[in-house]
């Protein structure tokens, strides 16, 4: 490569000798640290230092709207309060309802769509791209415009439901009713994130080599049998990956739901993150909400460990 040599010489000539020697002298080891250090320092400053601070605050009575009050150590009081509180327990159950049903519908619809797209009909790439659009949008803006669609009198959703079922469109309120609101947020989340599950399932289906099906055909296994003993088991690590990630994301869901229902009516759609936001930024119970934040941290951290294990399993394919 004569060109490269020429460039190297030109670079060497243009570099001041002392700097050139210093740069040339950098060992791979020091370059490695030089390259990693800025990222680690930023994350320490913006993530780890605040985390340690949160742990400290969770043992104190600090309130962010009264910064001059003497800070007293309260021990494990906040943790005991939260873990004995029926309200927080109810928020956890609301979260569980949301997480369970969104994962259920997204996996069901997402896998079915992936299976259909894998039939490779003409134009499938185009339609796949169209289907993917909702998951890239801003959850907050999505929550806001679905609120418009869910309006009881004028909303498109109620109109379409009444068009197909004959129920008068003003007889039910998706966001105002205690029984329907938890399902309204499930509908919107499913609309938005089914493409995510679909895309990962599609990768799973495409990772199954043709020869396995060919071997099954030779053995005269029925299509039904092939689906249950080849397709599903081999796509399962991918499905698990999608389920875990959606589970983690929806466990901490905030933006979309807060704009759709704001946690209401009552506290029927008050998910864990919304309770946390109310305690921290409306009631200014900083100590209490710090303890709550740590509890959520630990749960997410535990789930993230499992997620990375699932990622590595998929990577080996």
């Amino acid at each position: 490569m004569p060109d490269v040599n020429a460039i190297a010489n030109r670079v060497a000539a243009a570099t001041p000798p002392s700097l050139g020697r210093a740069v040339r002298g950098l060992s791979d080891r020091s370059i490695a640290w030089l390259f990693v250090a800025p990222t680690i320092i930023l994350l320490l400053a913006i993530n780890i230092f605040p985390l340690i601070w949160t742990i400290y605050l969770s043992f104190t009575n600090y309130a962010s709207n009264r910064p001059n009050r003497a800070v007293v150590n309260v021990g494990l009081k906040w943790y005991q309060d939260i873990l004995g509180s029926p309200e927080v327990w109810a928020a956890m159950q609301a979260t569980a309802h949301f997480v369970f049903w969104t994962i259920f519908f997204q996996t069901l619809i997402g896998f079915t769509l992936a299976y259909l797209i894998d039939r490779k009909f003409r134009g499938h790439a185009f339609w796949t791209t169209i289907i993917l659009i909702p998951m890239m949008l801003s959850p907050a803006v999505v929550g806001n415009f679905w609120k418009f669609l869910f309006q009881p009198q004028i909303g498109l959703f109620n109109y379409i439901v009444s068009f197909f079922t004959g129920i008068p469109p003003s007889s039910f309120e998706m966001l105002g009713s205690v029984t329907l609101a938890p399902w309204a947020i499930v509908i919107v989340d499913t609309w938005m994130w089914t493409p995510y599950v679909m895309l990962i399932c599609l990768a799973g289906l495409r990772s199954i080599p043709d020869y396995i099906y060919e071997a099954a055909e030779v053995d005269r296994a029925s299509k039904w049998r092939q689906f249950w003993s080849i397709t599903l088991p081999m796509a399962l690590p991918f499905i698990m990956l999608a389920v875990l990630f959606r589970g983690i994301e929806n466990f901490k869901m905030f933006d979309m739901v807060v704009l759709l229902t704001g946690g209401g009516p009552g506290s029927t759609t008050e998910l864990a993150s919304i309770t946390l936001k109310r305690q921290a930024f409306e009631a200014y119970r900083t100590g209490y909400s710090s303890a709550f934040a740590i509890i959520l941290f630990v749960v997410i951290f535990g789930l993230a460990n499992i997620y990375v294990k699932a990622l590595n399993r998929v990577k080996q394919r």
Binding site: M1, V4, A8, N9, V11, V23, L26, I31, A32, F35, V36, P38, T39, L42, I46, N47, P50, W53, T54, L57, S64, L116, I117, R119, F121, R122, G123, W127, I130, I131, L132, I133, M136, S138, A140, N144, F145, F148, Q153, I154, G155, L156, L199, A203, E214, E217, L241, F245, D255, L276, T286, A293, I294, F297, I300, A304, L311, N312, V314, K315
Partner: protein
């Protein structure tokens, strides 16, 4: 049956009928899933009365009122006052006067949109710059505890934003970064750098080491080889990563609503606060939403080949 004629490969090819059924169902889903989006895009072109009419209007006279209301603030005036003003200046003035109002000034939408642009591009630039160095180091060198560091980097992204926001809010208040674009850029950089490192590591892993080694034999230093050989090879990956970071920062709401209130507020917390007389001004909300979402739709189409990588942190590459 033409079994004897079909090739060995066609054994696993789906039949024409099953393909047609699959195509029908997938296209049906795609069309249904686009209805809410199409509806909000259409609402932007309605007048406020049309937007809340029953039954919902599918056919309507397009009006600029939504876009006009999005960009202006208006005050109600008497007929005499409006008549004394002389002829209307431009389309928006005309629409506003029909409602017996005059334009009082620009709204906050444009500054919020510009904030979104500054913060999204600033944090993307920083996150990708930091990320590409770290990703290279993780890809090429033996770093002690590399797996733990990578997990640590990833786990920071998984944290619930509200939980992170509590100490950040206090910290920013102490050091004067509350409601500042710089504070938001640093925060989004920290969140995005984890994605950037993981994604870029995947892209750099795919560049053969032989390229750099050849360059180094020819007299390049390691750093020169990185800048002149690896970076150009990774250009596609860097662009895809940048778009992912951009979309995250563009879409983010939780940090934005808690940590910014005026100066540095981005568009997502602003759009839900657009109200007209007697409730939400849905055409203006629709217009704001349309302008905000169109870039993302375009990016999604551009990114379609890399989406899978992006959402699995580079683990699944097809």
């Amino acid at each position: 049956m033409s079994g004897a004629v079909t090739t060995a490969h066609s054994v696993v090819e789906p039949s024409a009928t099953s393909r047609r059924i699959a195509a029908f169902l997938v296209i049906l889903y795609a069309v249904v899933t686009m209805v809410p989006l199409a509806w909000i895009f259409a609402t932007a072109w309605k007048t406020p009365p049309d937007s809340i009419s029953y039954p919902p209007k599918v056919v309507f006279d397009p009006s600029l009122e939504g876009y006009c209301n999005l960009f202006t603030t208006r005050t109600r005036q008497t007929d005499e006052y409006i008549e004394a003003l002389g002829p209307p200046q431009g389309a928006c003035d005309e629409v506003t006067r029909k409602r017996e109002m005059v334009i009082a000034g620009p709204s906050n939408y444009l500054p919020r949109f510009v904030n979104s642009l500054i913060i999204a591009f600033g944090s993307t630039f920083l996150a990708v710059s930091l990320g590409v160095f770290s990703a290279y180091a993780f890809s090429r060198f033996k770093i002690p505890l590399a797996d733990d560091l990578l997990f640590f980097i990833l786990s920071t992204r998984m944290m619930p934003p509200i939980a992170v926001a509590i100490p950040i809010y206090l910290m920013y208040r102490e050091i004067g970064l509350s409601d500042s674009a710089l504070g938001m850029i640093l925060l989004y950089t920290a969140v995005n750098v984890s994605l950037a490192v993981w994604l870029l590591k995947g892209f750099i892993d795919e560049i053969p080491r032989e390229y750099e080694e050849a360059a180094m034999i020819d007299g390049y230093t390691r750093l020169q080889a990185f800048f002149k050989v690896v970076l150009p090879q990774a250009a596609t990956g860097i662009a895809a990563t940048a778009i992912f970071c951009l979309i995250f920062a563009w879409n983010e709401y939780a940090f934005a609503v808690l940590l910014t209130s005026g100066e540095a507020q981005t568009a997502p917390p602003f759009i839900p606060t657009i109200i007209g007389e007697g409730g939400m001004d849905w055409p203006a909300v629709g217009a704001g939403t349309t302008l905000f979402l169109i870039p993302i739709v375009v990016f999604t189409v551009l990114l379609r080949k890399h989406l899978l990588r992006g959402i699995t942190f580079g683990a699944v590459r097809k």
